[in-house]
């Protein structure tokens, strides 16, 4: 049953050195504040799982939190490279980073299989390409009816999932809306989960009967962090800070500018720093 905690308590509760974590959010609702807290708590040897590492993992990789990265697209969306990710892979800075690379389809299916408590996912993919040659986790099964050979990927079952959501109610149920990505699957696939939210409300009130909701008993901890997705966005609350995504290219290009930015904006700040980005506009349910 979900407990309400501070962000620092939440990260302490779900994230330990050496564990695997999926911090999801497909462009929308990326849990940046949680990533900053993990950096402040100096987590080490993490296996970071995310379809699109995005800035949140670029920052954690650059600060040496990651031993291994499981991903399917490692760029700065619409901008270019993730320089800290590249520096780790190309130059081993701040240390060597193991990578396990998939396609989006494979990872989406792997999360789905994890949520469904299956050991693997079946999909039609990877035909004619080189990734299976470098990723031994990509295997196949034969359809017992048609003989077709289909690709498989192990289910993702992280130790922890961390997501950002729009609202929690007082009982600890969590509401998502808009581009919902694989967040629900990530939480259901994980052993424990932390959800940061824009708002805590008494109850969700009138809503679509099929609203995307994670019941309280599927969530470990909830922390109220308004603005916690910035520079990603929260539908109905604030928009994506495209200018920051562009600015990040320059900040992260050099190690020195990156470290200076982290010092000033992560190490010397707390979760409250995100509140300035939260500008409640309309109800989201």
């Amino acid at each position: 049953m979900a407990e309400f905690v501070s962000l620092a308590q939440g990260i302490e509760a779900v994230l330990s050195d050496g564990c695997s974590v999926a911090m999801e959010g497909f462009t929308h609702l990326i849990p940046h504040a949680a990533g900053h807290e993990a950096i402040r708590q100096a987590r080490k040897r993490l296996t970071l799982i995310r379809m699109t590492p995005d800035l949140v993992y670029d920052q954690m990789i650059g600060m040496g939190c990651a031993e291994r990265l499981v991903f399917s697209w490692g760029g700065n969306p619409g901008v270019g490279s993730l320089h800290r990710f590249r520096d780790a892979v190309e130059n081993g800075w701040p240390h060597k980073l193991e990578i396990e690379e998939h396609s989006h389809a494979a990872m989406a299916n792997a999360y789905e299989a994890g949520a469904a408590n299956l050991p693997f996912a079946v999909f039609r993919g990877y035909k004619g390409v080189d990734l299976p040659k470098v990723n031994p986790k990509i295997k196949s099964v034969t359809c017992p009816y048609t003989g077709e050979v289909l690709a498989t990927v192990p289910a993702i079952r992280p130790d922890a999932a961390i997501i950002h959501a729009l609202k929690a109610d007082r009982e600890g149920n969590v509401l998502l809306e808009g581009i919902v990505g694989v967040q629900k699957e990530a939480v259901l696939a994980a052993k424990r989960s932390l959800v940061t939210v824009e708002e805590i409300v008494e109850d969700f009130g009138p809503r679509n009967a099929n609203a995307v909701i994670l019941p309280a008993w599927t969530v470990t901890a909830i922390a109220h962090v308004p603005g916690g997705a910035y520079p990603s966005y929260a539908q109905g609350y604030y928009k994506r800070a495209n200018d920051f995504y562009i600015a990040w290219d320059k900040i992260a290009r050099e190690r020195e500018t990156f470290l200076a930015w982290i010092k000033a904006n992560v190490l010397e700040k707390g979760p409250d720093a995100f509140a300035q980005h939260a500008r409640p506009s309309r109800q989201a349910a």
Partner: protein, 256 residues
């Protein structure tokens, strides 16, 4: 007004789209082309972005595949597992757009690494949706600016499959989709040769010479016997496209 090479690429791609198409749209030129088509001759075209937005009608171009604008203007938005299972693998997309850092003469693409995979000279973003977009969409349109480091003799890594080593390779893999049928560049349009599937220049953009095109390609290019000239951008096409970019820049504070 004359179109820039990038504008000409976008406009040439947009012209290939119809009201009946269901497009899986990537960021950049594909997004601009699809929305240009929607705002001109194909108002009923269906646009899908891999973030889960179905039948979306953005008024400005998204900077990312998952901008709120895409969701706000969509018919509905589904989860990412559903997008890849029911919609892409489901075979419901007629045209998928791809691009890449590198392409070879059979329209295979590399967006993964330059140099060895385990010790890359340049680590590129990777495949994302591309490996499965390449096999599940009815056909693939590729948009890429030409250059001899992009159009290469041999790919260090095949991220998504085009025509393999030539005609028949897709069928051998059990694929029933057509794969890349058009490569729309800033200088010309190419199509796979009907007999060999090797990319062949079929149309030069206005004012572009064969030599310019060859200079932007790392292998000896084939040209169609009847080489066409791409019709110049119309005033309307250019006006609508530039207006879209202006709106986009106003909305984002940046170009998309």
């Amino acid at each position: 007004m004359t179109a820039t090479p990038t504008e000409m690429m976008t406009i040439a791609a947009a012209r290939l789209l119809t009201n009946e198409d269901v497009c899986f749209v990537g960021i950049g030129a594909p997004s601009a082309a699809c929305n240009l088509a929607r705002l001109t001759h194909a108002p009923k075209i269906t646009l899908i972005y891999e973030s889960g937005t179905l039948s979306t009608r953005p008024t400005v171009l998204p900077l990312s595949i998952g901008d709120g604008e895409l969701c706000d203007t969509a018919l509905t938005t589904v989860s990412v597992p559903e997008m890849f299972r029911y919609w892409l693998q489901g075979g419901r997309i007629t045209i998928g757009f791809l691009g890449g850092a590198q392409i070879d003469r059979f329209a295979n693409l590399n967006t993964t690494v330059v140099g060895p995979y385990d010790a890359p000279k340049v680590r590129l973003p990777g495949g994302g949706g591309a490996p499965e977009i390449a096999i599940h969409c009815g056909q693939i349109f590729i948009t890429m600016a030409m250059g001899s480091r992009a159009f290469v003799e041999t790919l260090p890594f095949i991220t998504s499959f085009g025509h393999g080593t030539g005609k028949g390779d897709r069928a051998k893999l059990g694929l029933k989709t057509r794969g890349p049928t058009k490569i729309i560049t800033d200088l010309c349009v190419m199509e796979p040769d009907p007999e060999t599937s090797e990319l062949t220049v079929v149309s030069l953009h206005p004012g572009v010479t064969r030599e310019q095109v060859q200079a932007g390609c790392g292998w000896p290019l084939r040209f169609a016997a009847e080489l066409a000239e791409t019709p110049a951008a119309s005033a309307q096409e250019l006006a609508v496209l530039r207006d879209l970019h202006i709106r986009t820049k106003q909305a984002h504070g940046v170009a998309a």
